[in-house]
Symmetry: C2
Subunit: 227 residues, 2 copies
């Protein structure tokens, strides 16, 4: 018991809410807990913060340890600090969100404190450990606000994608339907979604494949703030 302090200190953990998209619906990556409390219960990947890492570094480390995912961009959601949210001791958690190409992680390994890692549709989730359901609710709210302002959708998609896929993400996140023609018009008008010339082979008529031009997007953003 080597760590003593003059005043009590809470423990600090991080959690990652990783969003993915499988072509039709919005998914979330969960791990099955291998240890108590909430053993065998599904939870967000995460764990205790080390003293020599920022919360972001800790979140990425735990995500890697528990799911194999690495080198992705995470963004802080907020801290969750209810006094009794962990039965062991006072634990506050700092939650992060991430958006990944789910196809790159179709198989996610479990590992470390996680028995198993698996994608779940946001609409068919198992019961979650701790206050993770509350955290998810906040994460989804933030996602809905963010997708209107930032090109999050393209982090969930492959390098090339069809307009229909983009529309599916918007519809899955915002839970409403859009008109195909208007959606297409709005997206192409943005100026940073450009046709690659290739086509996607699918069931019916093949769709044009587009790519997201990050540079042009940044240009557009800087124009926007200049006004």
């Amino acid at each position: 018991m080597p760590y003593t302090y003059k005043y009590p200190h809470p423990a600090v953990t991080t959690d990652c809410i990783v969003f993915g998209f499988d072509g039709t619906g919005l998914n979330i990556l969960l791990i099955k807990r291998g240890i108590e409390p909430y053993k065998d219960c599904w939870a967000f990947p995460g764990g205790f913060l080390n003293m020599d890492e920022t919360a972001e570094e800790g979140a990425l480390r735990e995500l890697h340890e528990e799911t194999g995912i690495e080198e992705i961009y995470v963004e802080q959601l907020q801290a969750f600090t209810k006094v009794d949210r962990d039965p062991r001791e006072r634990v506050i958690t700092i939650a992060f969100t991430a958006f990944v190409r789910q196809e790159d992680y179709g198989y996610v390994k479990g590992g470390d404190d996680a028995k198993e890692a698996k994608w779940f549709s946001v609409n068919e989730l198992p019961p979650l450990a701790f206050d993770h359901e509350e955290i998810l609710k906040i994460a989804l709210e933030r996602l809905r606000n963010k997708i209107r302002l930032e090109p999050i959708a393209f982090h969930l998609l492959n390098k090339t994608f069809t307009m229909t896929q983009v529309q599916s993400i918007y519809e899955a996140v915002l839970e409403q339907k859009y008109d195909r023609r208007n959606f297409h018009k709005k997206m192409t008008a943005l100026g940073y979604i450009i046709p690659t010339g290739d086509k996607q082979t699918a069931n019916g008529r093949p769709g044009i494949l587009y790519s997201f031009d990050e540079e042009k997007y940044n240009e557009e953003v800087s124009k926007r703030s200049a006004i």
Copy 2:
């Protein structure tokens, strides 16, 4: 040294970024620190979290102890977790923002660990303790995003206010000028800013006094999400 843990724990503090508006510009409430580190330096009101309170409760308690302000609405910004942000030990802080009618707190007492509490214009700030300049930058960004979507401005104003005052807040926060006629039109079209019938006596022609109708605002919001 009574508090021992099996693994090291960071200390956890809270900080409050309190925004006010004095009729012309956006202001922030700072305290002059009475203790080391950064003694005599200006900082956001805040302090160590107790084990029996949420971060929000801790932030409100510290704010009350150091400035006398109480019973206000605070909202979590995010956690700040750089490893060396406090010279004493590993400290993470959870920052909150608040919007108050500055007139209600024209005189703010210092107290506790704060020698003095004082309003500063966001444009003429002293050097700040710890990483508080970075925190402020994030808080201002968030404020700018938020004011477009939520009626924050009215938390900064008196119960009744003139259109010019509302416009000044928007201009101070977003750092751009608006056309008086268009601004007036847009605001009245919102449906929840209603003339009281009174007028404000001022230098030139008196302005109509308006009030913010929270109920009507909530109605409008629910209509919005219904679409």
